[in-house]
């Protein structure tokens, strides 16, 4: 029984599985990023910084850079201005209907931002926009009330779908602060205002700041909303500029050189955010069993509710309403009369071969990526949680690394990596599969990580010592316990994939269109009815999967987002 044989039995059958998972992850992330970096400095001969020089010297690219900074900063600030008070109201006060508010915020959170942007084109376009027509008919004025095709318009539309990130960060932090911390100050003689200012605010300050950073990151990486709102207004952001660089003839090197600064900026911001949260530990002291008493709002109860509903009206009610109207109208801008009613949009959308193909592609990719992603994430999380192989910390880092890669940048990197041997994948669904898998890996990994962290390793050891090998323990003990967590991971990834636009828009080819790309194309043709139908279909699928996930997890999608990793950070279209 001694000697080498037992050792091989100990390592044996399971080891290749772990090593293979690690290798797959490494390949997935390092290969494209390596190519991106290389391409940005490649020259006919040797190495050059010419591409970077060109990027920073070109006034048009400079302008795009500056626009992105403006967009990211202001939408981050606006997100905090919306998200922070709402978080405080729903976590700390006797705000009426706070559960309804919470589910509406969740609806805003899962709404693809580019759909919201389309809806707002229909709501606040300067000529045909519904709100503007309403305004004109009411006042008789000739000028529009709102013009969404402006920088402020863009900032507004970005912020109403980004503020949930701030809300989540702050609401969860507030939820951890026990009332007695505040009461300890009250008993020493501080009034309610002073308590809020000197105790509560400093404790949530890191959460506010990190919520701001998360929103900024979202805005930086966003492609859909700027493409829909900024391009007609005649300005670019970094992401739309990168996309434009891919128009014929594609300037890949310039795009690469333009991508790298964006990548570094997001990496830096996330680093800062992580530092902030790392020091936040004290906020959770006394979190367990903490009793919280709601602060009475008194006369402000209903005005506060009205304020929340106004925001959610802009993010959910108005856009969903106009999408529904457009889906059933011959002409979306005309009043909803019987003559204007039609089902033609639906038959057109589901019967035309191009949209059909896209829907099939999307569902195929969604299922495939979700299965592969949930599986790979589960394996990786298991390896890192149980410290099965050397370098497991590196593995965790790699799995979370794509969070800093904006979809557009990832697409550029994948385009470079997979249009040449040994992996010729451009033009197939596989390149989209890889893009989605990479992009969703952080979400999947942090979800699985939480799952396995909740399964005490002693549960497995108890099986081992009674005579079960590692794989058998995995099958009979770990897998049944991790099942619902893994299915939830699957749902997260699926939702992320079916709405993905920013990488798809660069990687698609005529045969590999997906729903989001078709929606984007239909805009060029002015087919708003079909856009609305596809959008509603996408939302219906999303909400169905969210409902499934909430049943499985027994908690809502917002609450389960844990501090460190913004699990939905890749949700931006």
């Amino acid at each position: 029984m001694s000697g080498l044989i037992p050792r091989f039995h100990a390592m044996d059958r399971s080891a290749p599985v772990w090593v293979l998972a690690a290798a797959a992850l490494g390949l997935l992330i390092l290969l494209p990023l390596g190519w991106l970096g290389y391409m940005s400095v490649s020259a006919e001969r040797g190495v050059t910084l010419a591409h970077y020089a060109r990027v920073f010297a070109d006034p048009q690219l400079q302008k795009a850079l500056w626009n992105t900074v403006v967009l990211a900063f202001w939408s981050g600030l606006l997100s905090v201005a919306i998200g922070a008070p709402m978080a405080w109201l729903s976590a700390r006060t006797d705000l009426p209907c706070s559960r309804v508010i919470r589910s509406l915020i969740m609806a805003s959170f899962v709404t693809p931002p580019f759909l919201g942007a389309f809806a707002w084109v229909m709501l606040a376009g300067p000529n045909a926009g519904y709100l503007n027509k309403l305004y004109r008919s009411l006042t008789g004025a000739d000028d529009p009330l709102l013009n969404i095709f402006t920088m402020p318009g863009l900032i507004f539309v970005v912020a109403i779908y980004t503020f949930p990130y701030v809300y989540i960060m702050i609401a969860n932090t507030l939820g951890l602060i026990a009332s007695d911390l505040e009461e300890a100050a009250s008993i020493l003689g501080a009034n309610r205002f002073r308590v809020a200012l000197t105790i509560t605010l400093p404790m949530v300050a890191p959460a506010i700041l990190s919520g701001f950073i998360l929103s900024v990151l979202q805005a930086l990486a966003l492609f859909g909303s700027p493409a829909i709102l900024a391009l007609p207004a005649g300005f670019h952001t970094i992401t739309t500029q990168i996309w434009a660089l891919f128009h014929y003839p594609p300037k890949v090197e310039t795009a690469a050189a333009f991508s790298v600064p964006l990548l570094l900026a997001t990496a830096l911001l996330l680093l800062v955010q992580k530092r902030l949260l790392g020091r936040r530990g004290y906020a959770s002291v006394g979190g367990k069993g903490a009793q919280r008493r709601a602060i009475p709002l008194g006369a402000w109860r209903y005005p506060a509710l009205l304020g929340c509903l106004a925001v959610l009206g802009c993010a959910v009610f108005l856009p969903y309403g106009i999408l529904a109207k457009a889906a059933f109208s011959r002409a979306w801008a005309q009043p909803l009369t019987w003559e204007n009613f039609t089902l033609a949009n639906w038959s057109f959308t589901f019967l035309s071969s191009s949209t059909q193909g896209a829907i099939v592609n999307t569902l195929e990719l969604g299922v495939l990526t979700a299965c592969a992603g949930a599986g790979l994430a589960a394996l990786l999380a298991y390896v890192t949680n149980r410290k099965l192989i050397v370098g497991h910390q590196l593995l965790a880092f790699l799995a979370l690394a794509p969070i800093v890669i904006p979809g557009t940048v990832l697409a550029v990197a994948l385009f470079i990596a997979y249009t040449r041997p040994p992996f010729l994948l451009y033009g197939t669904l596989w390149i989209l599969f890889i893009a989605y898998l990479t992009k969703e890996m952080p979400v999947g990994y942090s979800q699985s990580d939480a799952t396995f962290r909740g399964i005490h390793s002693e549960l497995e050891e108890a099986g081992r010592i009674l005579g079960a090998g590692r794989l058998r323990v995995l099958r009979e003990i770990t897998a049944p316990l991790a099942k619902s967590g893994i299915i939830a991971t699957w749902c997260f990834i699926f939702i992320g994939v079916i709405r993905e636009l920013s990488a798809s828009i660069i990687l698609f080819t005529p045969n590999t269109k997906v729903m989001s790309v078709v929606i984007f194309d239909l805009k060029e043709e002015g087919q708003f009815g079909a856009i609305a139908v596809l959008g509603i279909f996408m939302l219906a699928m999303t909400f169905a999967v969210v409902a499934l996930m909430q049943t499985l997890l027994g908690r809502d999608v917002l609450g389960q987002r844990s501090s460190g990793t913004p699990a939905g950070a890749s949700a931006a279209g």
């Binding site: 050792r7 005490h456 010592i465």
Partner: protein
């Protein structure tokens, strides 16, 4: 039934040695408790024995089988051991029956025999009738019993327990101590029992191994450890004690300033530093005003003042400052109190109560 022999066992985490050169022999059928403060390496030792960890040096033998060495580690599933975990580690997706039957299923025990043994074992831990419940539907004490049943039903060669009672409340803990001892006497499985609770170790085990810094500081019966500790650490860790640092004055006396104590042994090297351990309950206290009973022959008699007296119900905890020295002794006296705070007292200590220890401070 095999015993366990551990030789020169060493396990490092980075630069920190959790276990270093640990030596231990557990006789067949014996229950040995590994006792020590947190970080002494007791749980690491247990996990090394279970095969969850690989040692950097040393060997673990069970009977004639070498199970662990730096060259090869037999995986846990092939060690014919069973383990009871601190968290119980009951599988929440299986019923009590399924939990207990798991090990038998792995051993391919025929169905009929399996059912019979599971039922018998549940009866032995007083859980008959609970077989179809899920662990989540049981109380902490019942879960503990299921964990015990699951480990014992496979009739392991070696049983390992990792602080199994630390999640129970005080009353239940006391009850389960006797229960585990009863089951040990019933099945007589060679057992290693990790705990940080000295009372638990003393009640449950045949012998106690006190661990310090990854080594066995002393191993022996509860009585041996308490009456004849061999190091300061053991003296302080097992029960309360007074430690007085001094210098050997002769072969059988220790001096500290003007204080002279006659001690239990007579082979001290004069001039060597020695620490003396005196248990609080082995010190006699009497009011000095009274002539009182004559002290035991050879006892050291000292004069002192009571500087603190705490009434504890079943006794009184005194602190007595010894005159003409810097020594303050803790003394356990009977209730009701015979001396009061501030009173002058005479203190007498028999030589047998003064255990000399190597003086080196850790």
């Amino acid at each position: 039934m095999p015993g366990v022999t551990i030789r020169g066992l060493t396990k490092r985490y980075g630069d920190v040695a959790a276990v270093q050169g640990l030596e231990l022999r557990v006789e067949p059928g014996e229950l040995v408790a590994l006792l020590g403060p947190s970080g002494c390496g007791k749980t690491t030792t247990l996990r090394l024995v279970a095969g969850f960890l690989k040692p950097e040096a040393g060997e673990i033998w069970v009977g004639e089988r070498c199970l662990s060495s730096p060259a090869a580690v037999v995986p846990p599933e092939r060690r014919r051991m069973a383990m009871i975990f601190q968290s119980y580690a009951l599988w929440p997706h299986m019923t009590v029956d399924q939990n207990v039957a798991y090990g038998l299923r792995l051993a391919r025990t025929p169905r009929g025999e399996r059912d019979r043994r599971v039922a018998e074992m549940l009866k032995a831990v007083q859980l008959d009738g609970y077989g179809s419940r899920y662990p989540g539907e049981l109380s902490g004490g019942q879960q503990q019993r299921v964990a015990v049943a699951r480990a014992l039903v496979v009739e392991p060669e070696i049983l390992l327990l990792d602080e199994p009672l630390s999640n129970l409340d005080a009353n239940l803990r006391e009850e389960m101590r006797f229960e585990i001892r009863r089951l040990h006497e019933l099945f007589a499985i060679t057992t290693l029992y990790v705990t940080h609770d000295q009372a638990e170790a003393m009640v449950i085990s045949d012998r106690v191994a006190v661990l310090q810094d990854g080594r066995v500081a002393q191993i022996g019966t509860a009585e041996e450890l308490f009456e004849r500790p061999r190091t300061r650490f053991v003296a302080e860790f097992i029960g309360k004690t007074n430690l007085i640092d001094g210098v050997a004055d002769g072969t059988g006396t220790v001096a500290r300033g003007r204080l002279r104590l006659r001690v239990a042994s007579t082979d001290l090297t004069p001039g060597a530093p020695v620490a003396v351990s005196i248990r609080p309950h082995q010190i006699e206290l009497a009011p000095r005003a009274l002539p009182g009973a004559p002290a035991a022959p050879g006892a050291t008699v000292l004069a002192g003042t009571v500087v603190r007296a705490s009434y504890l119900g079943d006794g009184v905890d005194y602190q007595v400052r010894i005159e003409e020295s810097d020594v303050v002794l803790r003394v356990a006296g009977p209730a009701p109190p015979r001396v009061r705070l501030g009173e002058s007292v005479s203190v007498s200590v028999a030589p047998g109560a003064c255990v000399p220890l190597p003086s080196e401070r850790r």
